[in-house]
């Protein structure tokens, strides 16, 4: 496929179908920008109305083109697009960009028209970008196949950032903003309605493109999430960070997105979980996208999370220190060596430390900064150098910028600088933007970008170090098959637990009894106290039905409880099939957690973990990952919930067996992975986790099979 994509993204010859000599129309603008930026291949305008446009020979139809060109840029009214694509196919043209609007984004009829395009593309074995897109710009080779307003700029800044956008208008805006800051691109790709090629296809291309080192994406929804996961994994392997702005994070935003793109919108929380799982950096805000990509584009990855702050303003140091703390980064002490060296430089007016505040003294001794930053940035305790600069205007600003840039050349660490002042420092901004130092106007975004770099660096390290995890032990799949084939759509608790047990998941000792006498025999074997629970696929709310009796401490209590329980259930659900009563051990106390598997419409099976009670029900404090997970994923799932302290032994309680939870998560992931197609929902609720070293046990389980 990459050869075809190459023809699309770096064509040697281009037809502009619907070319116009009116440069305010799309067909005119495409020509104008191709010429403006000096496209070096062959251009064939196609329009029966003209002999030539601006001296370039014009062809009456695609069929009449003198050669089999690489790609066709189609800027026709929607109703003319299908025939035009058919002609391309007949002429052996394999790729096209369709700019025309009036397809799926307009709803009903448009959706039908887009289906027609898709069919033509499929039959012609073509690869097409669009429709309803703003096109593609290849910055490395100056090929502007777009009519985005950012092409009004004088030049294209080429560089190592590849950008795929599901919005043409915002995409163009982002490029404009980035180019203002001298951030260079390899490609800008606006995917439009994604009738054929989608976001992930283009990301896959960029990941293997030698000119692209960072992938930036504006995302409204991902169509093929398995493909996405694969691409993200490959990017992590190659060390090419993917920075994503995913919109539609709230229900309100999702509704707007749904009417806008007509795309399926999966749960945003699942998107976040998936991004985390595959090392994709999700940024919070519009401007973070550009500035995070800038940092990745300019700097090597930080070796750790320790930031050194150098400043001439105490206020600047406080703000950066606040943001560092909030983002969980480190503000280490300087090494003895650096402290001694710095003390000699700064005399009495400043205290040597981190933050290193050179105070208003910089005002009368601006050149002092030069020596200090050289020393400071070499400190072995510092992984990232952050410089805060405030109201320094004109020449002094330029000098300050040069000091920073020079220091950044001497050490192999990311340099970021937050400049608090405005346009009076502008000449310095330009110098920094042309250098390896990442300039930020906002202290919050500065430190957020550093945090992203640290997060990515850790994700990549984990990926490279990851142990070959042993394959899960084989299970008795005949037994599992039997459970699936003999159970009803909702399995009974006991069936669900037998299934769990096949995967080595610890469950309560229990057996089903069909009489009070048998129940007593089982209880004898298990040992009192026991619980009785109605065993019926139709009664899922057992407590509500009066179908549970806990803590029965003697045979007599059990014999008395048994018929009462049955009577309750028969009254509650007269038609329910009652398959006896489950006699179950009463597990000792511990921390209650919940492990669940559910099916996201977008991503498929999602594994969920949370603490019981209010943590899940009121605080929605859960962590999620796609099935299957790795051990590291399981560890992170446990650690990232807000109530994690409960597990480590808050409020005078002992530490819970966290290792047992991790083990359980992995086993549930194995189960879900094996039986994914047959399961719609699996809930282990509650799972009681005992003191460290004493394991965990599933007290109740619900498994709903998928209806076919």
């Amino acid at each position: 496929m990459n050869e075809t994509l190459n023809a699309l993204l770096a064509p040697k010859s281009i037809a502009v179908v619907g070319a116009s000599n009116d440069f305010s129309r799309i067909g005119g603008m495409l020509l104008k920008y191709l010429l403006k930026f000096g496209y070096r291949g062959k251009i064939y305008p196609v329009n029966p109305k003209y002999e030539d446009i601006d001296g370039i020979k014009c062809y009456s139809s695609i069929g009449n083109l003198p050669e089999r060109i690489d790609t066709a840029l189609i800027a026709l009214a929607a109703k003319l697009v299908p025939d035009s694509l058919r002609e391309c196919a007949q002429r052996g043209i394999k790729t096209a960009i369709v700019y025309s609007a009036g397809f799926a984004e307009t709803g009903g009829e448009g959706r039908r028209k887009q289906e027609e395009l898709r069919e033509i593309i499929r039959q012609g074995e073509m690869k097409v970008c669009g429709p309803n897109c703003i096109g593609i710009v290849n910055f490395t080779e100056d090929i502007a196949m777009s009519f985005s307003g950012f092409l009004e700029a004088d030049r294209l800044v080429s560089g190592n950032v590849g950008f795929v956008s599901e919005s043409g208008a915002l995409g163009g805006s982002i490029v404009n903003r980035a180019q203002d800051r001298n951030i260079g691109f390899s490609y800008f790709i606006s995917t439009g309605n994604e009738a054929d090629l989608d976001l992930t296809d283009f990301m896959a291309f960029l990941i293997d493109d030698p000119n692209t080192q960072v992938i930036m994406a504006y995302v409204e929804g991902i169509r093929d999430t398995r493909k996405f996961a694969k691409v993200a994994k490959r990017a992590l392997e190659l060390g090419k960070p993917i920075v994503v702005l995913k919109v539609g994070e709230t229900e309100g935003g999702k509704r707007v997105a749904a009417t806008h793109t007509g795309s399926l919108a999966g749960s945003d929380a699942v998107y976040s979980a998936v991004f985390k799982q595959y090392g994709v950096i999700r940024v919070e805000e519009y401007d973070d996208l550009i500035e995070t990509a800038m940092l990745f584009s300019k700097s090597k990855l930080p070796k750790g999370n320790r930031v050194g702050i150098l400043t001439g303003t105490g206020g600047g140091a406080i703000i950066l220190a606040d943001k560092i703390a909030k983002n969980g980064l480190g503000l280490p002490a300087l090494s003895q060596f650096t402290r001694e060296q710095l003390s000699q430089k700064v005399e009495s007016f400043a205290t040597v430390g981190n933050p290193m505040d050179l105070t208003g003294q910089l005002y009368s001794q601006p050149e002092m900064f030069k020596g200090v930053i050289q020393l400071f940035s070499q400190d072995e305790n510092i992984d990232v150098v952050a410089v805060a600069i405030s109201m320094v205007p004109g020449e002094r600003a330029r000098a300050r910028a040069h000091y920073i840039i020079d220091a950044a050349k001497t050490v192999d660490k990311p340099f970021v600088s937050w400049w608090a002042a405005g346009n009076l420092s502008e000449s310095a901004f330009g110098l920094l933007d042309e250098s390896k130092v990442s300039l930020f106007k906002s202290p919050e975004r500065c430190i957020k970008a550093v945090k992203s770099a640290v997060t990515y660096s850790q994700a990549r390290e984990r990926f490279l170090l990851k142990d070959k995890e042993p394959p899960p032990p084989p299970i008795d799949s005949d037994k599992a098959d039997t459970i699936f084939s003999t159970s009803e759509q909702t399995m009974t608790e006991h069936e669900a637990k037998l299934l769990l047990a096949l995967y080595g998941i610890p469950i309560t000792r229990e057996e089903v009894a069909t009489s009070a006498t048998q129940a007593a025999q089982i209880a004898e074997k298990i040992g009192y106290p026991v619980a009785l629970k109605v065993n019926s696929p139709q009664i899922t709310h057992k407590s509500e039905a009066g179908g549970i009796r806990l803590n029965l401490t003697s045979k007599s209590a059990l014999i008395k409880a048994y018929p009462e329980l049955l009577a309750n259930c028969q009254k509650y659900a007269p038609k329910a099939k009652i398959e006896g009563v489950l006699v179950q051990e009463m597990a000792k106390e511990g921390v209650e957690v919940i492990i669940g598997v559910s099916r996201d419409p977008q991503f498929g099976l999602v594994l969920m973990f949370g603490l019981g009670g209010i943590f899940v029900e009121i605080l929605r404090d859960v962590s999620m990952r796609l099935v299957p997970i790795t051990r590291r994923d399981a560890e992170e799932m446990v650690r990232e919930i807000k109530g994690y302290q409960i597990l480590t032994g808050a409020r005078g309680k002992p530490r819970a067996d966290i290792e047992a939870i991790i083990d359980l998560l992995l086993k549930v992931s194995n189960l879900a992975s094996d039986w994914g197609d047959s399961i719609s929902e699996l809930d282990l609720n509650p799972v009681v986790v005992f003191e460290d070293g004493q394991g965990a046990k599933v007290l109740d389980a619900l498994c709903v099979k998928r209806s076919n």
Copy 2:
């Protein structure tokens, strides 16, 4: 005091003490900027070295000045400052700005020198700004008494924003940024070390200044918090919003702030609570400060929280809708009337609604925007008009800006616009910056600013509507006096509860017994079941001591428990004075909450509310206000905790008696307010809240008196 402050902030005559003919030195720059911006009063340089500077006669000392000038700008080495201030005092000069560094910010010796200044100022009955400050600029009268780099700009943009900053460097930077955006100031005041005049003094001045409508402040710490609360209240009364960037929000940031300013740093959470209580808008980020002040400066307050989004980009609509949802603002449907009118304008290509997305069609019909925005912004359902614009360059950008500006003139609502593109749209940015429309480059900041405006508008509405709350009923202060005078430093539970009861706070029925027999008599009166609790000022951890027995259901159980409990306590704390045993009713079940009063080093008595258990202990989910509170404060305290749902009846439980909690909070506030000087800590923990209508009851209470 305002007359003196007027002499400082709008002086008719100025002495520059330490004036220099070297315009790169502070004493030179002060002269340079006074002249540059055309100071219309009299300038007297003071320096024995010169006859004149730039043709202005120079005086050898303050004593030799020909008149009693309004204010002295002192730019001398630190060691010369005390004498200089003494001379001012002798000459009857009442105000001064001290720029010199080398005082409290350098620690030990500097702190002593600053104390010396303070004493001179006090004796001279002067009002002084600084030391270690960057000065004051009066924009309305073009008086630049500062050497901040922002004065390198060609002009001072005057306007209605008064700005007080506890950082000179960041303060100047912020002014530079704001002036780039055409945001006009009345005053910029850098407070420096605040040896005399502090942040709050200047805020008080600005609030009564007719040229100032919005107060903006950069805050590291507030020295006199009672004064601040008073000033904030007055600002709310006059409808002048205070927008604050308070730094040192984390422990890390606070540590840096402490070394930087040497100032007391109270709990940041208390700062937030106080700001909320007095209608002060606290912004999250550096750039929010300017942009929030801009919105207040340009627009009337919104009448409600309903935002209408008008856009040409679907992506822009999604992002704004996301932020609106996240900030709890409304995205209402358009009125029938507007919908009908708009339908006629936009034909089939766009769906009429909110967000109103005019799609790529704007590309070929840009003038359509004009009519649509006129109609859209008049919709009665919309309180704030938000426009998103993306990659629109050059002339088209200017036209778009004009359409928005024209529409904003016809309706009395705040207009905000988020412009996604970069410098190619720059000419439009200038137009918007000069208009009443607030321009944002970041969608997040745009909606955050709208949220701040809505929050302020609500706070002010509440303030204006606030009922004259009835004065708290008189209490028997003799009885309270007796409790305070007879109790030890830590009151017994029973003493604390008797105190609560004096304020009408419902406590458990209980009495102290000194023998098992007496205990049984009391229990008979109260009714079984009862609890026994050791009554000793020395045993505050009663459970740990084995000093509590709950749920005693009979006389025999009580008679048995009594001596056991005493034995436990004697073993646990052999020296403790045991004043009998408290016999207490067992209250029925409910939701457990905690109400506490503690003493913040900065703000004094703080009232705290939270849910019991993990909510306070693990999640730190508490709300706070300064004592005394209003009924509205109490309502907000209950509503703003994250676990509020627990009270309204989550998880199948009935709604709790929220009115009873509000009543309790008010009564505890009254108690704390009456006995504030005598109390160091008061904890009602737990308070059990019954079903709606059934009240609440304090189960246990701890009161620690203040040591003198």
